[in-house]
Symmetry: C2
Subunit: 235 residues, 2 copies
């Protein structure tokens, strides 16, 4: 079956959420690494917990609440001087170095993003990074008021792109997202970057490995640049 | 409003899930602490993720999958010699030292457990620890095929006990459970033990603090033994 569209996760897959580290270290000296990691871990926990509590708040609010948690956890009371620059940084995350070349090499395919981010966050991110040059469709889970890996999120892709799920290659570095997308019925490529899953960081220990959720990806790649060859090989 | 029933969370609240540490260290020398913490963190993540994916598996299965993850994360391929003794330990967890005296002092109240555990796991745990002497009702989320903090879990309490939610004091040391129970409409006591929320462990950093989910507990106590006085003061 030909791949007619590539649908990318945004945070952690095309965009490096660890690129807030320098600013976190400048604002919380000696604690930037812990703040950055806790922030991301809690951000995801809160998407799951709020979905499960049936108390959806959008990703901008969840990201802010997770930042409050992370800052408090290192003994600092959250305040605008610290939190505003950090959360604003979420609109200016760096794309991974291999993102632009990969998207350029995939030109001619339908390229889309399916993300937990709000439409406003994603539009700002794409514009600020210039990736809007290649990504034609941006799909936010905000309209279904639940977060990945709820199947209703993945269910947004077929009507948005006008193609069937088996024609989609879903690309994510987040292992829970890989499991959710595969359970839904996409073909899935897991981007497992070198160094991910290490024992150096909480994030690496907890989220850098394959989940034991029973849905293995079709492909495991070590860089986005493996994608063009993988797509051509499937034809 | 008089408190007519106390409903306890089991794992982490009445029973010390860290009591598997000695066996984990014996089976994975030098790695027992990391395995124990990752196991518990992943166990909870998988309850949330499976609920969200609408792919419920029971808590015995989820606990086994989380153990596989934890063991693999420290570089060991899961095998029966390591995993069976550890998971069997989940039927023989130690109650916290203050659990028996607290339950004895609350005699005459309706005392119940609401837990993610399967009925079989909970019955074994209560029998093996002797807490079945005081706990008259054991409620497992297994019948609703979703995990806490989904509201359907807390919704099991009123029909099981024949009382209204505002007459319930829900007791948990798990901060996400505190948020879920409070959102549902129970009175809630958060057991925040001394040393919880420390920066020494991944578990302390991630789960030992109040969540930023907008539902503060009615009471924060540092030990279960604070409960009898708290209940009397409410009358």
């Amino acid at each position: 079956m030909t791949i007619r569209a590539l649908v990318f996760d945004a945070y952690g897959t095309l965009y490096d959420v660890q690129s807030v580290l320098a600013k976190a270290e400048a604002l919380c000296p000696g604690k930037g690494e812990v703040v950055t990691q806790l922030w991301r871990l809690k951000q995801l926990e809160y998407t799951w917990l709020r979905s499960l509590m049936l108390e959806y708040e959008d990703f901008w609010q969840v990201t802010g609440a997770a930042l409050d948690f992370a800052v408090r956890a290192v003994g600092v009371e959250p305040n605008d001087a610290i939190c505003e620059p950090l959360i604003e940084n979420y609109l200016h995350l760096d794309p991974y170095p291999d993102a632009r070349a990969t998207l350029a090499a995939l030109e001619g395919r339908k390229l889309a993003i399916l993300s937990n981010g709000t439409p406003r966050m994603l539009q700002a991110l794409l514009r600020n990074s210039g990736l809007d040059q290649w990504i034609e469709t941006v799909i936010s889970v905000d309209s279904v008021r639940a977060y990945k890996p709820h199947p209703s999120c993945y269910g947004l892709v077929e009507p948005a792109l006008g193609i069937a799920r088996i024609e989609v290659l879903f690309v994510s570095s987040n292992s829970f997202d890989v499991a959710g997308a595969k359970a839904f019925g996409f073909k899935v490529a897991w981007v497992r970057r070198a160094g991910a899953g290490g024992q150096q960081t909480m994030f690496g220990m907890l989220r850098g490995r394959a989940e034991e959720l029973g849905h293995a990806p079709d492909h495991t790649i070590s860089a986005l640049t493996d994608l063009p060859g993988l797509v051509r090989a499937g034809e």
